[in-house]
Symmetry: C2
Subunit: 246 residues, 2 copies
Amino acid sequence: MNIIVYPTRNYIEERQLKDKVAVVIDVLRATSTIITALYNGCKEVIPADEIEEAVRLAKNYEKNTFILGGERNAEKIEGFHLSNSPCEYSRDQVENKTVLITTTNGTRAIKRAAYAKEVLLASFINITAICDYLEALGQDIAIVCAGTEGRFSADDVLAAGALIYGLHKKNIPIELDDLGLTAKFMYEHSMDDLHGVLSQTTHYSLLKDMGLQRDLDDCLRLDTAPIVPIYSDGIVRAWYNIVDMR
Amino acid sequence: MNIIVYPTRNYIEERQLKDKVAVVIDVLRATSTIITALYNGCKEVIPADEIEEAVRLAKNYEKNTFILGGERNAEKIEGFHLSNSPCEYSRDQVENKTVLITTTNGTRAIKRAAYAKEVLLASFINITAICDYLEALGQDIAIVCAGTEGRFSADDVLAAGALIYGLHKKNIPIELDDLGLTAKFMYEHSMDDLHGVLSQTTHYSLLKDMGLQRDLDDCLRLDTAPIVPIYSDGIVRAWYNIVDMR
């Protein structure tokens, strides 16, 4: 199993991605939030690049059947139902609804990863479910770290390390590029203290300073939402929902 | 002291660099080779992007006053005097000569860093000299990892970590971006076994497979060439030479 890791979505090359399964990671907070929404029973999640696009898409839905969510500058968008905090996407808010979401980094990374033959969404909260799914697939993988404002983000790379570590523990033979080796090394030396290692990083510090400690706690917990979200034709669905629909 | 780290030269943004001191790192092998040549008494080093450019520049020099060096695909260029192995740039080869050098990643990174107000060349072999110089300057820093073929290269990031670790040990207050924090973390957890940590990485493996173990040994030794090379107006000179010239 060959694994390449992109430090941000800007690094993605279409020709490298097209014969691989892409795993998009935006720990703080887009993929953590989307995974939480799906785990709590929302029907589907539609990522939008821009606020206007999300608002326009919402017009296709009956009142009370959809949620508009997302952030700009880590804050809730005016007129939207929810921000980008996983804890807001509780079952009573999202069950059976469509979530339309736009964020600065994560949703754009998901759409950019669409060159791949399959696109999964990962974060610490579903890391083992993703490992199990990838083991069953047995395909080459491209891990797409969303990054923050086009720059390397340590939280995403650490989750990439957790994913690689999980595959390694299954004794799956894997070949890694240098960022993959770095990510695995980082995770192996910090898995017992993720908050400590990330406490000085840019995005973590920003959210902490905004009083969003609960988001940080929720996003750095392992396996609290053990599902496999798949992005296809513009929509993210949980894998078991997709199986039900087939 | 604010420090940003670029994973490859492709990440450089002119506006970010222009008020900073840039430190270019290409451990395997361009900056290691150039530093060695200067340490062994060569007059100056002129980095060229292309083979043709190096050959054309050589026409300005009398026979026996210059060395043409460099690599493509990690091998010596046909008709050139030397390859890109530090050990070839011995005192008897280079003393008082001009070295014209072209490599795949390193020389291009050096030229791209020229947006900065001062450009230094670093590798493990001069890491403490660079730390001392940066301490005396007291300016904001941009560390430019050359990378390999436009991708993240762990050897360069590890040397960036060694540099940051050295500054940290001097109790200089530093602010780091996420890649800087990652680099420091990596180095702190691997400084006693650089070869072990890098043994599976792309560039290290390639050079090892080519039988260039001596290059790997030479490039990963600390402080064997304690000089500060400065790139200015297209030429790299050792700082003490520049001082002599003033």
